[in-house]
């Protein structure tokens, strides 16, 4: 009762004990706005990932990205509605720093990793996202190519819905490849069209950003 009075005044919408409630008798966990949640174990996620890789082969990255894009769109609409209600004003009325903080809270409390936005290249039409402990990079083991296509899809869908523009997302570095953190670039699909090939050719994040600076859309 005491805690809920804080919840309506701002702060961290996703704070544990307030954000989720489990009805143990029914076996149902819901968020404070009634959205049902389920906890997925490492075993399940590894199995899910392997099944997609086995079934889809070379197309698996596209499948992961496509799933992520759809989920990301739903997530953005829910984030917009919940954050606006909780803070008593629309996202557009909130400072960018606060929106980024809420976004980081959203991802970290759901276990997707710790994310940070870098909007310093927005004049180039690029948003950079850094993710520490992204889920699939943590589960997949060492890899010679980025493995977080699901998360890249989520970012693409999320920011497309948030900005009402068709955006794409390319992963440019990955913890599974030995990089200290995973990095992503979000931008217009036309702008990023060549970036995936550059990453496949071995260019690092900074090199891809530099190449993209010369792309005109």
């Amino acid at each position: 009762m005491i805690a809920s009075s804080t919840a309506t005044a701002g702060g961290n919408f996703y704070a544990e004990n307030l954000y989720c409630e489990t009805d143990v008798l029914r076996g149902v966990t819901r968020t404070r706005t009634g959205v049902r949640l389920v906890t997925l174990t490492t075993d399940f996620l590894v199995g899910f990932r392997r099944a997609i890789l086995d079934e889809c082969g070379p197309a698996s990255d596209t499948v992961f990205a496509s799933c992520g894009r759809k989920w990301g769109g739903f997530l953005a609409r829910r984030f917009d509605a919940e954050t606006s209600t909780f803070h008593g004003r629309s996202l557009r009325e909130m400072s960018l720093a606060k929106v980024q903080a809420c976004l980081a809270d959203l991802f970290s409390h759901h276990g997707w990793g710790n994310v940070r936005l870098d909007l310093s290249r927005h004049e180039q039409g690029l948003i950079a996202v850094t993710a520490d402990e992204p889920i699939f990079a943590s589960l997949s083991g060492a890899s010679d190519k980025p493995v977080d296509s699901l998360l890249a899809g989520i970012f693409a869908g999320f920011f497309s819905a948030l900005f009402a523009q068709d955006l794409d997302c390319v992963q440019t570095s990955c913890k599974a490849c030995g990089d200290p953190v995973s990095r992503f670039l979000i931008g217009l699909t036309q702008r990023l069209s060549a970036a995936r090939a550059w990453v496949d050719a071995g260019k690092n994040h900074e090199q891809v950003v530099a190449e993209l600076a010369s792309v005109r859309v």
Binding site: I2, A3, T6, A9, G10, G11, N12, A15, E16, L18, S95, L96, A97, K98, Q100, A101, C102, A104, D105, S108, N114, V115, R116, L117, T130, A131, D132, E133, P180, V181
Partner: protein
């Protein structure tokens, strides 16, 4: 309160019982302190942000964010600390509010030292502004914020 939570299906021994009884006895002054915080919340937050601004004139990005918003955020942190004090939970203010402020300041590239300094200034301002009994009760729940780790993304 924390003692009750931590017993986790174990019968409470006499030491636990004493801790809980002592906590129960401390509730009236804790409620009184929370009331004092509520009454002086705006003053403490405004003074905190002003003092922090003066100590860190280089933080232009925060000025762009808007000092009224900073004051509003500090008020939320202060309120969470008061609730943490009522529940005797030193993690409460961090997880309920300070982490979001920390992330917003991180986005603005405010150095970790300056962020921690905000929470130091808040703890000290509350101690100087609130009635002594309330200040003493609240201080541990604010001072711990300055020692909290920031989000791990580099």
């Amino acid at each position: 309160m924390q003692t009750v939570n931590s017993t986790d299906s174990v019968n409470m021994n006499s030491s636990h019982q004493k801790e809980v009884l002592d906590y129960a006895k401390s509730l009236p002054p804790r409620f009184k302190a929370a009331r004092a915080v509520e009454e002086m919340e705006a003053e403490v937050a405004t003074r905190t942000v002003k003092e922090w601004e003066q100590a860190h004139p280089e933080l232009g990005a925060v000025a762009d964010l808007g000092w009224p918003e900073a004051v509003a955020d500090v008020r939320v942190v202060l309120r969470a600390a008061a609730l943490g004090m009522l529940m005797d939970d030193t993690d409460y203010a961090e997880t309920r509010s300070a982490i979001t402020v920390r992330r917003a300041l991180d986005f603005l590239d405010v150095p970790a030292g300056a962020v921690n300094d905000l929470f130091n200034v808040l703890a000290n301002t509350a101690r100087e502004t609130l009635p002594p009994a309330a200040a003493d009760l609240l201080y541990p729940y604010l001072s711990c914020l300055a020692a909290s780790a920031r989000p791990t993304v580099v």
